[in-house]
């Protein structure tokens, strides 16, 4: 291993470390999971400890897309467009079983998992997930960000 690749490797590590504590999330809240998302974001569980305390309500300023709640087929193009508007690097978290698999909405209206529309990095199951599991998912996402696992 040459000296150059040693330094670029260290630089990637440093960038990954910085990125994982500066998560600007875009909460795409469509359903009841939003209440649990708010509980996680507020002071009791305090998602700001993980550097994710500032939601950006514009996808162009965000780097993590939180898909929180049931996505219907009619909403699917909107979600895809939101995802397309985000700048690289970007990550997606599927929050709750509805976004993971469609959940118990096995019917004509609901998308059976948002990974049929956009790529997903972390799945947080639960109906809705407790704040502990949301934070667990967030920490897994941080590991992924720190490891530099991104799509370009």
């Amino acid at each position: 291993m040459g000296v150059g690749s040693f330094f670029t490797g260290k630089l990637d590590e440093a960038i990954g470390w910085a990125r994982k504590y500066s998560i600007f999330q875009y909460p795409f809240v469509t359903a009841c999971c939003g209440m649990e998302y708010m509980a996680t974001a507020c002071s009791h569980y305090d998602v700001d400890r993980f550097g994710a305390g500032l939601p950006r309500f514009s996808p162009r300023q965000a780097d993590v897309l939180f898909v929180v709640g049931t996505i219907s087929h009619k909403m699917a193009p909107v979600l895809k467009r939101i995802y397309d508007q985000m700048c690289e690097p970007k990550w997606v978290v599927a929050f709750g079983v509805c976004t993971c698999t469609g959940g118990f909405y096995d019917n004509y209206a609901t998308v059976q998992g948002i990974d049929t529309i956009i790529p997903v990095d972390v799945y947080i199951p639960g109906c809705p997930p407790r704040p502990e599991s949301v934070i667990d998912g967030l920490m897994k996402l941080q590991d992924k960000i720190a490891a530099g696992a991104q799509r370009f």
């Binding site: 087929h73 895809k80 096995d106 019917n107 998308v111």
Partner: protein, 165 residues
């Protein structure tokens, strides 16, 4: 005005075009011939004693393979009316066959009927003749079929739509 009096008034006005009436636990219903539904709705709205000024809901029922209703018309379109001044209610029903699923529109009487009828078209595939803009209300244009029909397969998946690229 109590429910029996409302039904009697409807029968007196429409005669044989009221096919049957019944009440179930205080909810009074008149089944009206399709040709007479607009007359019946207009009479309910404009008659001074009835004065049903509020169209609460339009919905439909699919009686496919319903016990006891196998050979009757497949659909029923249901109108729920409420009189805010008199605090009374009535329900009107129209029976339609599957291969002739058409009902005249009530959007000339109550503007809200516009969207309610669009929803019934969307979910049951019943056409409302004379409707100004009969498009799907809840689902998207590319959706194939009408999901609240009893013969719509519960596990059918529609192709995902997305923005054109």
């Amino acid at each position: 005005m109590d429910g029996q009096a409302i039904l009697a008034r409807l029968r007196a006005r429409l005669g044989g075009r009221v096919l049957e009436t019944h009440d179930f636990r205080g909810d009074h219903t008149a089944v009206v011939a399709r040709e007479a539904i607009l007359d019946a709705l207009a009479f309910c709205r404009d008659d001074h004693g009835l004065a049903f000024d509020l169209l609460v809901d339009i919905t439909a029922v699919d009686y496919l393979e319903f016990p006891g209703r196998e050979d009757g018309p497949r659909f029923e379109v249901v109108y729920h009316l409420y009189a805010t001044a008199h605090n009374h209610r009535v329900r009107l029903k129209v029976r339609v066959e599957e291969d002739d699923a058409r009902v005249p529109t009530a959007s000339g009487l109550w503007p809200i009927a516009d969207w309610l009828e669009r929803e019934v078209w969307d979910m049951f595939g019943i056409r409302f003749e004379g409707h100004p803009d009969l498009r799907r209300l809840l689902l998207y244009e590319e959706f194939v079929g009408h999901p609240l029909r009893k013969d719509y397969p519960i596990n059918r998946r529609q192709p995902l739509i997305g923005p054109k690229v």
